[in-house]
C-alpha cells in the first residue's frame, strides 16, 4: 500500500490524536478530580455537620471536571470516524 507523504502525515497525526487525545484528557481530569475529592473529604472530616453541602458541591465540581473529558470523548468519536479501515 503506497501513500503520498501528505496523506501519510495526515494519517499519522490522526492516529496519534485518536490514540493519545483521550488518555491525556483522562490523566488531567483524574488528577483534578483527585484533588477535588481530597479537598472535599478533608472538609467533611473537619466539619462533619457540613457533609451534605460539601458532598453536593463536590459532585458538581466533579461533574464539571468530568464534562471536559467527555468533550474530548466526543471529539475522539468524531476523529475515529475519519480513520480509514484496513481495506481502504
Amino acid at each position: 500500500m503506497q501513500f503520498e507523504l501528505g496523506t501519510g502525515l495526515y494519517l499519522l497525526g490522526l492516529a496519534l490524536a485518536v490514540g493519545l487525545g483521550l488518555p491525556i484528557a483522562v490523566i488531567g481530569a483524574a488528577l483534578g478530580q483527585g484533588r477535588a475529592a481530597a479537598g472535599a473529604m478533608e472538609g467533611m472530616a473537619r466539619q462533619p455537620e457540613m457533609a451534605g453541602r460539601i458532598q453536593t458541591g463536590m459532585i458538581i465540581a466533579l461533574a464539571f471536571i468530568e464534562s471536559l473529558v467527555l468533550f474530548s470523548f466526543v471529539i475522539f468519536f468524531l476523529l475515529q470516524g475519519r480513520l480509514p479501515t484496513i481495506g481502504q
Binding site: T56, I59, F64, L70, F71, L78
Partner: protein, 237 residues
C-alpha cells in the same frame, strides 16, 4: 457525529414512554391524597421534599417555585437513563436530539427569570457587571458573560449526551472486542458488559442529579439579590 444506526424516532418513542411513566406515576401517587400517606404518596413526597430542600439550599427562600422544573427534569432524565439498561430499551438521553431541547428549555427559562428578577435594563447590566467593576472593563466582561451564557446549554447537553452515549459505546466495544471473536455472536449470554452497566446505573443517577442541580444553580445566579448570601452556588460554570 458518530450517531446510532437507528432512526431518531426510536429515541423519541422511548422519551415518550419515559414521559408517560412519569405522568402515570404522578397521577397514581396524587389520586387519593391523605393526611397519613400510603406507600406511593410517601415516595412522591420524599422526592418532592428532597428537591424542596435542595432548591432552598441552592437558590434561597424564593427557590421553592423552581422545584417542579428541577424535579421533573431529574425524574425524566433518570427514567430515560435507566431505560437504556433494560434490554429492548434505548436511553433517549444518549442522543443530542433529546438533550439539546432540554438544555435549551432550561437556559431560556433562566433568561426569562433573570429578566423578571432584574428588569430588561438590569438584565443587560448584569451581563456587563455594571457597577461591580470599573466602567472600562464592563464591555469586555459583557462579551465574556454572553459567551459563557451561550456555553451553558452546550455543556449541559453535551455532558448528559456524552455520558450516556459513552457508556453504551464502551459496553458495545467490550462486546465486539471480546464476545464476538470468541463466540461468533453478539447475543451470547455472557455478561462482559455487566460492570459497565453497573457503572451506567451510577452515572444515570449522578447525571440526572447534576442536570437538575445545575438548572437550580443557573437559576440562582440569574435571580440572586445582592443582599443574599450564596456560598456554594457562586462562580459555577
Amino acid at each position: 457525529m458518530e450517531e446510532h444506526h437507528v432512526s431518531p424516532w426510536v429515541f423519541a418513542f422511548f422519551a415518550g414512554i419515559a414521559a408517560v411513566v412519569l405522568v402515570i406515576f404522578a397521577l397514581l401517587s396524587t389520586r387519593n391524597l391523605q393526611k397519613r400517606p400510603g406507600r406511593l404518596q410517601n415516595f412522591a413526597e420524599a422526592i418532592y421534599e428532597f428537591f424542596d430542600n435542595l432548591a432552598v439550599s441552592v437558590v434561597g427562600e424564593h427557590g421553592r417555585k423552581y422545584v417542579p422544573l428541577a424535579g421533573t427534569l431529574f425524574l425524566f432524565i433518570l427514567i430515560s437513563n435507566l431505560m437504556g439498561l433494560i434490554p429492548p430499551g434505548l436511553a433517549p438521553t444518549a442522543t443530542l436530539n433529546t438533550t439539546i431541547p432540554l438544555a435549551v428549555i432550561v437556559i431560556l427559562y433562566v433568561q426569562y427569570e433573570s429578566i423578571r428578577a432584574r428588569g430588561i435594563v438590569g438584565y443587560f447590566k448584569h451581563f456587563a457587571r455594571w457597577g461591580e467593576v470599573p466602567a472600562p472593563i464592563s464591555p469586555l466582561l459583557f462579551v465574556i458573560e454572553v459567551v459563557s451564557e451561550l456555553a451553558k446549554p452546550v455543556s449541559l447537553s453535551v455532558r448528559l449526551y456524552a455520558n450516556m452515549f459513552g457508556k453504551e459505546q464502551v459496553a458495545l466495544a467490550l462486546i465486539t472486542a471480546l464476545a464476538v471473536p470468541i463466540f461468533k455472536s453478539a447475543y451470547v449470554p455472557l455478561p462482559i458488559q455487566f460492570p459497565v452497566l453497573m457503572l451506567g446505573l451510577l452515572v444515570g443517577f449522578v447525571q440526572a442529579f447534576v442536570f437538575s442541580i445545575l438548572t437550580l444553580i443557573y437559576l440562582a445566579l440569574a435571580t440572586e439579590h445582592h443582599d443574599e448570601h450564596h456560598g456554594e452556588s457562586a462562580h459555577a460554570h
